[in-house]
Symmetry: C2
Subunit: 257 residues, 2 copies
C-alpha cells in the first residue's frame, strides 16, 4: 500500500461509502406490519451519496440482533437499525447493541434530561426511564416527535421503528455521516419484453464497465414492457450510455414494429 | 438423542418449520422500487404455519447472493428467493444458486418445453432460452402468468421478482412444503402510550412463556396509543393471556381516566 500524496489521483473506491439496514421486528416478519423504512432509507442513502448494500430483517431476539449487527458493521461503512428502542420488555435493541460492541449500557445524562424535560412532572415512569440508556460512547440522535432519542455509536446508527420518527432522526444524523459520490441514474423505457433487448443490454454492459445496467420487466394495462435503469457515479458516461441505448432502440423499434 | 416411540409425546420444536426470504435486487436497495414481496411472503408463511424468521435484501452480485444463500439454507427449513430469473445479463439468480449448491446449470427439458409451448414459432430467442436453465436436481415451480418457471432445489425455492408472478408461484409450490403449527395471534388495542402498560406486559410475558408479546406504539389523529400483539401456537393459552390483559386494562383504564 502506497501513501497518498497531495498530488495523487483520487481513488474512486475511497469515494464509495456503504451502508446496511437492520430492521428489528417480529411484526414485519409475521406480516402484520408492512415495513415503510426500507424504501425511505434506501432513497435517502441514494440521495446523499451512500450505497445501501444490504438489508436484513430479524426478529426481536438478542442473539439474532447481535449476530447480524456484528456481521454488518464489519462489512459496511455504516449500519442503520430501526425498531426496538421503546419502553417495553420487547425493546431490546439498545441492550443488544451494547452487547454486540462489548460496552456497558448506562443511563445517559443528556438523554435523561431530554426525557425529564419532555414529560410532565411525575410522568417519567421507570419504563420510560429505560429509554435514557445509551451504550457507553454513544452520541444521541434527536427525536423531535416523541423526545426519546436514538444514538450513534462507532458506525452504528440506532433509530426508532415508527416511520415518522425515522424521518426526523435521519435529518438529525445525516450531517454527521461521511458520504461519497452520488449514485446517478438514467431510466429508459422499452415498449417490448426484456428478452428483445437482452443482447443489446449485455453489449452495453460490457462496453460501460463502471455503469450498472438493470432491466426490469413490467406487465401494465396489458402491455409487456421493460424499464432499463443505468446507475453510476460518472454523469458523462451515464448520458453517453443512455443515449446510445435510445439510439439503438429507435433502430430496433423500427425493425420490430 | 432418544428414538421417538409411537406413544411418545410430540416435541413442539419439531412442529416449527422456519423460512428465510432472500430478495435479490439493486432496484430495491437504490430505493427506485418499493418491495412488495416481503409482506406477501410473510403473510403467506404465517397463514400456512411456517415461521418467516429472517429476510435479506442483497444486490445483483453473485458473491452477495451465494454468501447469503449458503448461510440461510443452513439455518432455516426453507429459503425463498425473489428476483433475477429473467432473460437479461443482470439475471444471475439461477447461476448463483447452482454455484452455491455446487451443481451444474443445464437446460431443463421440461422448462424448455414450457417455453416452446408459450412463445409463437421463432420467438424463443437465445435470451429467452436462458430461462430454461435449472440447477441439476431442481423441480419446476409453475408460472401461470408469463410461463418462465421458477424452481425448487433442496430447501431453496427460487421465484420471480414481479409480485403477481410470486403469488402464482407460491400457489404452485405451497402444497410441496412441510408446514408446522400455525402461529396464532390476538391483538389488544390500548388507548395509552406503551410506557403505561410496560410493567403489565412484562409480568404477562413472564407468566406466559410460550407466547411472544409485542408492543407497538402508534401516533394517529393526535392520539398516542399502543397495539399489543400476542403470538403463539397454543390457542387456549393465547385466549387466556389476552383476556387477562383486557381485564387488567379495564381496571387500569379506570385508574387513568
Amino acid at each position: 500500500m502506497t501513501q497518498p500524496t497531495e498530488n495523487s489521483t483520487p481513488d474512486p473506491a475511497q469515494d464509495t461509502v456503504t451502508a446496511a439496514l437492520l430492521v428489528i421486528g417480529d411484526e414485519i416478519l409475521s406480516g402484520r406490519t408492512v415495513d415503510k423504512n426500507i424504501n425511505k432509507l434506501a432513497t435517502h442513502c441514494t440521495d446523499i451519496g451512500i450505497r445501501l448494500s444490504e438489508v436484513r430483517i430479524v426478529s426481536d431476539q438478542s442473539q439474532a440482533i447481535i449476530g447480524a449487527l456484528n456481521e454488518l458493521r464489519e462489512r459496511y461503512s455504516y449500519v442503520f437499525t430501526t425498531g426496538g428502542i421503546g419502553p417495553t420488555h420487547d425493546d431490546i435493541t439498545a441492550q443488544s447493541v451494547a452487547d454486540a460492541l462489548g460496552v456497558p449500557l448506562p443511563e445517559n445524562p443528556e438523554a435523561l434530561a431530554i426525557l425529564e424535560d419532555h414529560y410532565p412532572s411525575g410522568a417519567l415512569t421507570d419504563a420510560r426511564r429505560l429509554m435514557a440508556r445509551v451504550p457507553e460512547g454513544g452520541v444521541l440522535v434527536q427525536n423531535s416527535i416523541s423526545a426519546a432519542p436514538g444514538f450513534m455509536i462507532e458506525n452504528v446508527i440506532v433509530m426508532a421503528g415508527v416511520p415518522s420518527i425515522v424521518e426526523v432522526m435521519l435529518d438529525d444524523v445525516t450531517p454527521k455521516l461521511r458520504t461519497g459520490k452520488k449514485l446517478l441514474s438514467k431510466t429508459v423505457q422499452v415498449r417490448h419484453p426484456e428478452s428483445f433487448v437482452a443482447t443489446l443490454l449485455l453489449e452495453l454492459q460490457n462496453e460501460y464497465e463502471g455503469i450498472a445496467i438493470g432491466s426490469y420487466p413490467y406487465f401494465r394495462d396489458g402491455v409487456v414492457g421493460t424499464t432499463v435503469v443505468m446507475r453510476g457515479v460518472d454523469e458523462e458516461g451515464l448520458s453517453k450510455a443512455s443515449q446510445q441505448l435510445q439510439d439503438q432502440l429507435t433502430k430496433m423499434d423500427m425493425r420490430f414494429s
